[in-house]
Subunit: 210 residues, 2 copies
DNA sequence: TGTACATCAGTGAACGCGCGTTCACTGATGTAC
DNA sequence: TGTACATCAGTGAACGCGCGTTCACTGATGTAC
């Protein structure tokens, strides 16, 4: 099974291993607390290997952002598209947020830590902003699809609903940072749903949005 | 007017000057980006003066937290107590949040950056958590007073309403970190009000809370 | 009102260390003939 | 199928620098008599 790999394959594998190690170390130690040395060691390489695959610490983190974007959005879209009612769809997504928070409570704090860091450098700020915009775009698109499928209307632009929902989830995740017992996650699902419903209006057929 | 000061007065003045300088530098550069050297210089002293008045960088930041707690809560309580209706009171507080965000957009990111840092060290985590708890307690108390004065009921514990409101405001503030034009603040006031109203129920006289 | 000693807020320089980044090098993989 | 050379992923050590913290010292303020 130890198939001989070509050079590009071998390199891609190394990149993946470093990325996986980086995810773990960043989650465990935070952005500033993470050293490239530890990532390299965790992956079974030296720091040089990191620099051979990524431009630096920031670039490495952006790669993690991209990776996460992929699976989180596909998960979210799948759940919404399988749903048989609007309520189902919203509920499923609330649950996904809660599960993510349960499984990786350190993620949102880590992301925000990176944001504060990125906001200090124009280039990195742009790169991070682009990723966040992409997330909002996907969720907005999803909300739009739901509105059409289930004949409802959003009182404000779907993108704003996406922003509000994400901001709320993030804010609540941060509440658990200093006190993990604060505001348990099962409550969160209900709170999240109520918040989103605030922006909903049944559609009397036509009518204009925004 | 250059009154001669006693030693304790002089020291208190130095402490205040360092604290004021620290607030500015922290807001401008973030927690990790701030150096004690710059704070000292900004205040017109040397680093030694900082260590003569504070135990270190963390302790200095905690002092800023305390200072801010004082004026933010007194502001908030005053606004609520002057209000003539529940709507007035909520609206006034929504406006205070928005004004704070307008005037010091860097505050919430800074606070969260500190939280992520504090969460890594048990002692500092506790200290930061205590401050946050105090804020929640004050707001919860305020919400309780409002409920009694205006004969309404909170659907969940006031402390949870306080948490939800704060978390939402914080989450939205973070949205503006990477893109300052995102989700303008005038919209925020309305969103905040709607969110809080979700937790309100008119009081048919008696009835149990929690 | 004056003198001698004690205190201590703030100085300034040095310490120590961690960490992101760079770079000359190596040896396995790939290519040309 | 084999040989000579080129490539380049990953090594390992060094660089450079910033920064939080420490500490012996100083000189103005305070105290005792």
């Amino acid at each position: 099974m130890t198939t001989r790999l070509t050079r590009p394959q071998r390199k891609a594998r190394t990149r993946d291993e470093i990325l996986a190690a980086a995810r773990g170390v960043f989650l465990g130690r935070g952005f500033h607390g993470t050293t490239l040395d530890e990532i390299a060691e965790e992956a079974g390489y030296t720091k040089g290997a990191v620099y051979s695959n990524f431009a630096g610490k920031d670039d490495l983190f952006l790669a993690i952002l991209d990776e996460r974007f992929e699976w989180r959005t596909s998960e979210s879209l799948a759940a919404a598209r399988e749903a048989e009612s609007l309520d189902d769809a919203l509920r499923a997504n609330a649950r996904l947020y809660a599960e993510a928070a349960r499984h990786e409570p350190a993620w949102e704090p880590l992301l925000v830590e990176y944001w504060t860091h990125a906001s200090r450098s124009p280039a990195t700020r742009k790169a991070a902003a682009a990723r966040h915009d992409a997330v909002l775009d996907v969720v907005a698109q999803l909300l739009l699809e739901l509105a059409q499928r289930f004949e409802i209307e959003w009182k404000v632009a779907p993108r704003e609903v996406a922003r509000v929902g994400g901001a709320f989830a993030r804010g609540m995740a941060l509440e658990r940072l200093l006190d993990p017992t604060a505001s348990p996650l099962d409550r969160f699902e209900k709170q999240f749903l109520e918040l989103i419903r605030t922006y909903l209006r049944p559609n009397g057929k036509g009518g204009s949005a925004e």
